[in-house]
Chain length 220, copies 2
């Protein structure tokens, strides 16, 4: 009995997973507002009814994709154990943040409209942005205590807020600037550099020069 | 004859203008994707047919509103005559930019989707963002030449780019951060401060302190 039941029980899970993956790919490529559940079913060559068997509506698909994104971000926004975070941590942290954003970029493309339509998503996303800013503030405060950075508490807060803002909207900004509307992975490196520039001005002379040299290497 | 014709000839102009003003108010309040031409006609208590007599579709209304916005921005993004721009110019310039953005905030709320649907809008908006960055670069370069600011050409470019980004997405960021989703005029003052923080770190000590004192007065 078990041998017969197992594949049958496993099959719906596979379709369910495929729906999520295909939706993510379509949302990222065309923008979530331009993709309907019918498009998703068409792309998978399944009936709309089969899709609705797994998901009530598009919002449920979006929310489950968001949960995966949130889990990835939660794993990323973790400070290194006991030692104080430094500038290298900032690079690594930004790299992981931008990679995760890129993977779920449809969330960022139409962020305000998406959140206005879904209260649960809004609460979770807002919490995520706060954590991003808090993480940036913690790293910057540590750099200040070590004397690598010089900034008042008011300035630290402003820098942390700008870091959260630029990471959140870098891809959108890039899409707006490019007349073609295209965005690619190369633009992520530029985004990381733009975020580091938010800190650069507050660094001590040698730290600042070091950052600019690293940045040039990173961008070329 | 003239006396009889004049009001008749004037009437369509008035309706046309009212359609634009009512559309702007509805787009700003509810978000452009959530407002149809039927909503606009309902709100004005005119028939959809009457609305279509003046505008082919919603995109034409959006584009005419954008043209007004662009004209306002073009008037704003003008450097002061012969003398070199200074930090005071930056405050004034940002104030005017944020006021104009606030007035046409629906354009910024769903920017990426709006531009993806309209090539003409995309070209014009991209040009506007470039001009914004160029203006910021010019002011920062002047501050550097005067010795008030210290930044390499690479740093100046990064700062100018961040200024264009933060002004473009401040309202969206505010909407994402607020769990209620509400944005108000008070958030503009905070936005101006966030933009000035982008420059602050690169200023000489006394200029930087001056800016922070001004900022505290401005935000309280």
């Amino acid at each position: 009995m078990t041998a017969v039941l197992a594949p049958t029980a496993a099959a719906p899970v596979k379709t369910r997973e495929r729906i999520l993956l295909v939706s993510l790919a379509l949302f990222n490529a065309q923008g979530e507002p331009n993709v309907t559940t019918n498009h998703i079913a068409d792309e998978m060559e399944i009936s709309p009814g089969n899709l609705y068997y797994h998901f009530r509506n598009k919002d449920q698909i979006i929310y489950e994709l968001f949960e995966r994104f949130e889990k990835r971000m939660d794993e990323t926004l973790v400070l290194p154990g006991a030692r104080r975070p430094d500038m290298e941590d900032m690079w690594l942290y930004l790299h992981l943040v931008f990679e995760t954003i890129w993977e779920y970029r449809f969330l960022y493309r139409d962020l305000v409209d998406l959140l206005s339509r879904n209260k649960k998503l809004r609460t979770h996303f807002s919490r995520l942005v706060e954590r991003k800013a808090e993480m940036a503030r913690t790293i910057c405060r540590a750099l200040t205590q070590e004397g690598a950075m010089s900034a008042s508490e008011q300035e630290l807060n402003a820098v942390a807020c700008n870091i959260a803002l630029v990471t959140t909207f870098w891809l959108s900004f890039h899409a707006v600037k490019q007349r073609s509307g295209a965005i690619d992975t190369q633009s992520l490196a530029q985004g990381i550099y733009q975020v580091l520039s938010l800190v650069s001005g507050y660094l001590q002379a040698d730290e600042r020069e070091h950052l600019q040299v690293l940045a040039r290497a990173y961008l070329s």
